[in-house]
């Protein structure tokens, strides 16, 4: 209630009252009336002050602040290391029918540091959230610092809308949005390795909306620069697009699920294959043209009575299909060799993770790829590694983890890898530790 208004009203009432009683000679009665009004004003003032204290008006509602490090951002550092053992020579690794790029190569044999990460995040103000992730890794004795994420996200648009801008992992796949250290296996699924060079991120803008439906229904779109693998080249404006939709919910109290569909499009790109350490005088295959990828994913989780503490099961499936149309050139070749390219590549993986005790998890994964690439000059396709020679790349993996707390994990993993024609046995012993702020429990 507006106290000034009340005060004025009461004062007016008092004057009117006095006016009505003007004939009365009894001054005492008038004084008494005035006292009475004074008291009523005081009591109203008290009530108003109390109620504005209680509702807080427009002031903040928190009595005790629980922000991490007061106003510093939440900081976490990921320590990751692996001991790898291969039957085959890891440098011979290839996937026939798929020219590799990005970070598709195998981890070095023996002991090596994986992706050490530093993550800063916090609410920027009441309208924005920000996150910054640096990954530090060593390739061929050279320390490489990579900016993996640097994005803002809106908090207060309302209506289920969010806008994210900057550098971020694309929402085109389920695993793509999960940081490497939170994956359930040491290495990326073959389809991620073959099509995205492990993981796809770029700079741009994402708009997404959660619809006001009973089931979870999200649709979103990303406009990206198109300069990052598997796109590439000098792009003006928007070089690649992503549209995606996710749907999900619960079945009873013990089961949860999510399914997603995505579409990635990039026109007039110049995709360079080769990845790390292959630059220099060697011939580098380059694809120039239009590329489309369709993705599907499905996740199912179960925990007894929905209590994830002791036991739970997670099933995960993803499928991607990519179509490339354009030209393939071997850069640095003399004379310059090139061919047309009409390429169809697809692949899927399915995995099951079973947490059977508070600190123990185990999992199985199966990967499979398929390709059909055509061009005017088969020799060029062959040099680029785009001929499959009838081989179907596949891989089976098994892992076991000891997870003493939310911040530590020791993992043993074995792969029977048939990426190329010679079967490989791969063994990884990996540690992943997190120091600093508490991680997020994403679905």
């Amino acid at each position: 209630m507006n106290i000034t208004f009340v005060r004025t009203a009461l004062a007016c009432a008092a004057i009117l009252d006095i006016a009505v009683a003007r004939g009365a000679a009894d001054i005492d009665a008038l004084n008494k009336k005035l006292d009475d009004y004074e008291q009523r004003i005081e009591s109203l003032e008290r009530k108003d002050a109390e109620s504005s204290r209680a509702t807080g008006g427009a002031v903040d509602y928190s009595r005790r602040k629980t922000t991490n490090n007061l106003f510093n951002p939440a900081i976490s550092v990921i320590l990751d290391g692996v001991y790898a053992n291969y039957k085959n020579e890891p440098d011979d690794y290839r996937i026939p029918g798929f020219a590799l790029g990005g970070e598709a190569e195998l981890a070095s044999e023996g002991f090596s540091l994986g992706h050490s990460e530093i993550v800063f995040s916090n609410n920027i103000d009441d309208k924005f959230y920000g996150q910054f992730t640096l990954a530090i890794a060593e390739h061929d004795n050279e320390l490489e610092v990579e900016l993996e994420e640097a994005f803002f996200e809106t908090l207060a648009l309302g209506g289920g809308f969010s806008i994210r801008g900057g550098r971020f992992y694309s929402a085109l796949g389920y695993l793509n949005q999960i940081h490497e250290h939170a994956w359930d296996f040491k290495d990326a699924p073959l389809v991620y390795r073959a099509l995205f060079g492990n993981q796809y991120f770029d700079d741009g803008l994402r708009v997404s909306v959660i619809l006001p439906t009973a089931v979870f229904l999200e649709i979103g779109a990303e406009a990206l620069t198109g300069r990052k693998f598997p796109a590439g080249g000098e792009q003006d404006g928007v070089g690649s697009w992503v549209a995606y939709s996710n749907i999900g919910g619960d079945i009873g109290v013990s089961h949860s699920w999510q399914a997603g569909l995505s579409y990635w499009a990039a026109d007039k790109i110049e995709r360079e294959y080769g990845g790390h350490g292959h630059e220099g005088a060697v011939e580098v295959p380059q694809f120039a043209g239009d590329s489309r990828t369709v993705g599907l994913n499905a996740i199912y989780k179960w925990a007894p009575a929905g209590n994830y503490r002791e036991r739970n099961l997670k099933l995960q499936f993803e499928y991607f299909n990519r179509e490339d149309e354009g030209n393939l050139t071997l850069l640095n070749s003399d004379p310059l060799e090139s061919s047309t390219l009409d390429s169809q590549q697809d692949g899927w993986y399915a995995q099951a993770i079973w947490q059977f005790a508070r600190s123990w998890r185990t999992g199985l994964r199966y990967d499979r790829l398929d390709s059909d690439n055509k061009g005017s000059d088969t020799d060029v396709l062959d040099e680029a590694g785009l001929l499959s020679y009838g081989h179907t790349p596949e891989r089976a993996s098994v892992m076991a983890e000891w997870v003493p707390s939310e911040y530590s994990r020791i993992r043993l993993q074995y792969n029977r890898d048939d990426s190329y024609q010679v079967s490989d046995d791969q063994v990884y012993l990996q540690y992943t530790f997190s120091i600093g702020s508490h991680g997020a429990h994403a679905f």
Binding site: S208, I210, V215, S256, D290, K301, N307, R309
Partner: protein, 304 residues
Amino acid sequence: MRMLFRPGLFVGLVTLLCTYSGTTWAALSVFACEPEWAALVEELGGDRLEIYSATTAQQDPHQIQARPSLIAKARKADLLVCTGAELEIGWLPLLLRKAGNARIQVGQAGHFLAAEYTDMLEVPDKLDRSLGDIHASGNPHVHTDPRNILRVADPLTQRLKAVDPDHADDYQQRYQAFKAKWQDAIDDWSQRAAVVEGKNIVVHHDYWSYFTHWLGLNKVATLEPVVGVSPSTRHLAQVKQLLEKQPAVMIVDTSYMNDRPVMWLSEQTGLPVVTLPATVDYHGGETLLQWFERLVVRMLEPLK
């Protein structure tokens, strides 16, 4: 077909943005992180509210994921009522970011944390993860002291009035009725449970600190060596030794935890196990009053 995609997407988005209007809900939608707050807000708002509890009494509230169904519910909520004190730190911040709902963000009227209105026990002097999964703000399980329920009920009522001022009188009346009923109940429980005062107990996890503090029970040992870490056999043996010097009357366990270490210790020592329901069975229609009655009755059973 390829050419169609870009304009198609653009038109689709624009159409969506233009035709989109937030659905209006007849009832005020409340998202409670834990069943105790769902039950409390129901006492204060009754049928006027559409209440959703994100967890059940069988779930460890710390181990929840920001799963799709929770995002869908949080997106529609007018008021979020959670414990705070970092109990939901693994999933609530993510949920708030994903929900795209301005009303329930930190600092808004629709964001209510119960632990901000109670005094905290076990606030650590030292923050170090070697001490386990400790909470910097103190033990977050504040709802196990019935006096805390009352401490939270008052500011929660004020918050309901702020979010839904049209029905402020109704919330105030319901609060007065609840307060009277609850105060009587506290007096009754305190009187009946007076016999346990000063008794020694062993707990599995420091879940019941506020409850035992209220009843004046004396915790001599905790089975978890540090917070959130399962007891090793060596630690259990140490607890057993300790109990020979300082005899206890019972082992108190929590419904959502693995009962194996508790059963082992019970077999070794002959102590009765009292498994207390972690919170009200809100999904099963239980009220806060019935739940606390159940707690008190179970606590008194082994002492008969």
